[in-house]
């Protein structure tokens, strides 16, 4: 099978508008989650990781300057702006990939333009923009992608599923390149829902910690450009070596009590990559900091004989970014592969899960060649993907 190489990427969160800015902030230990008191988002103060709106608008204006024939900035929603800035940055140096008929655009999102349900947006945008395929079409048209985008909405594993799907279609020879982008905004819709689940932490989230009290929501967007036909000078190449999804078949919101099904997905990804557990150097977990998710993940990691492997969760920095999470956390993990640096799992102090995980408590240098990324979500879904440095 053809190896699928990662060519370029972008992360947009409260910590910055490029992968480099985000990684620099993580290196410095900057936490993007803070108390937000905004009645447009929730009636009372809530912990959120938000992208700075003024900066978002000025970055978007910069991008628009390169696309003069496109409609004015006000005709794009907040989420569309995030996607466009992210894809634009990830395509820098190779903008021709967008117009190539052998390129597939994959979009991952859980809620799309869900804020358009709110009364204050009703007059500005058409109802049609609530449909995820219309969001996809806006992005496709902006950049001139030839093929209809493939849209994946599979709860919190969407980003990993998008990468897995793109990699399968590249390996089959159906396409040469893929642009995989995932994003979600912070909205009253989602905040009120998670609040009704009593899942939101009153302080910035603390994945795997003894004193964790739930998750923190964040907004974010990420893009990865993949190719099946890498140019010779694109070295060292980081590849997608294996990936799989599974379902708990247990409960629509509560994670499995055993971790068996996530471990099935991890084992399958390792099998595809022809790797045994000893080969895994690092795990970027889902780590939402809810009581049950972190417990389940630790059990799955134990079932896979991966307890000694260093693990972290990036959600302590930028919160749970839903449809973006699988992508931006994969990109952050890949930066660990590139730089041979393991980042501290923010919010973690004392181990608070039954299986003795090796949680990274301080930033350190380490030789990292192979990394595993996991994700789990509502509907009982789990996903695992392996990135390998050649």
């Amino acid at each position: 099978m053809k190896p699928v190489c990662i060519v370029n990427d972008n992360i947009i969160t409260s910590l910055g508008f490029t992968t480099a800015e985000n990684i620099a902030a993580i290196k410095n230990g900057t936490i993007g989650i803070r108390t937000v008191d905004d009645p447009d988002l929730y009636p009372s103060p809530v912990q959120l990781s938000l992208i700075e709106t003024d900066q978002l608008f000025s970055k978007f204006a910069e991008v628009l300057q390169h696309y003069k024939k496109v409609s004015p900035a006000a005709s794009f929603t907040r989420l569309e702006k995030m996607f466009i800035i992210s894809i634009y940055d990830a395509l820098k140096g190779q903008p021709m990939i967008a117009g190539n008929p052998r390129t597939l655009l994959v979009i991952s999102t859980t809620k799309g333009n869900i804020n358009l349900l709110e009364n204050r947006h009703r007059t500005t945008f058409s109802h049609k923009r609530l449909y995820l395929w219309e969001l996809g079409r806006m992005i496709q048209t902006f950049f001139g992608f030839v093929n209809t985008p493939l849209i994946i909405s599979n709860a919190c594993i969407s980003g990993v599923v998008a990468l897995m799907t793109a990699s399968r279609f590249l390996q089959s020879g159906a396409y040469d390149h893929a642009v995989v982008a995932g994003g979600d905004i912070a909205s009253e819709f989602v905040i009120s829902g998670f609040q009704s689940f009593q899942a939101l932490s009153p302080a910035p989230c603390k994945p795997f910690d003894l004193n964790r009290t739930g998750l923190s929501l964040g907004e974010g967007c990420g893009t990865m450009v993949l190719t099946a036909i890498p140019e010779k000078n694109e070295e060292p190449c980081i590849t997608i070596a294996g990936a799989a999804t599974s379902n708990d078949a247990n409960h629509i919101s509560g994670p499995s009590r055993t971790g068996q099904e996530l471990s099935n997905a991890i084992n399958e990804a390792m099998k595809q990559a022809s790797l045994d557990p000893a080969a895994i150097d690092y795990i970027s977990t889902h780590g939402t900091a809810t009581l049950f998710n972190d417990e389940m993940e630790s059990k799955a990691i134990e079932l896979c004989s991966l307890l000694e492997v260093p693990v972290n969760s990036f959600k302590g920095y930028w919160g749970h970014t839903l449809g973006a999470a699988g992508l931006i956390e994969s990109i952050a993990a890949i930066s660990s592969l590139k730089d041979n640096i393991l980042y501290r799992s923010a919010g973690f102090e004392t181990l608070g899960v039954q299986a003795p995980l090796n949680v990274i408590s301080a930033i350190r240098k380490d030789q990292i060649n192979i990394c595993l990324k996991t994700a789990s979500g509502f509907g009982g879904c789990n996903a695992a993907i392996i990135f390998q440095k050649d």
Partner: protein
Amino acid sequence: MDELINQLKKEVIEQLNLEEISPDDINPDSPLFGEGLGLDSIDALELIVLLEKNYGIKIQDPKDGKKVFHSIRTMAEYITEHKK
């Protein structure tokens, strides 16, 4: 108290979409969770919303929920105690 118990039965059936269960099927002293009605963790959260919406009572500590939602009778007692 009996009136409140009967009213609660109806409200629980409606809020939790227990379509095939009638108020007479529910013994006010039987446990709501575990066997019987087949309720789960989402139903428990939904009962918290019911107390707030219909009776203006907020359960601050989710751990209290276990005692309060033991049975229809314990719910009725809690409401009587905390109603403003």
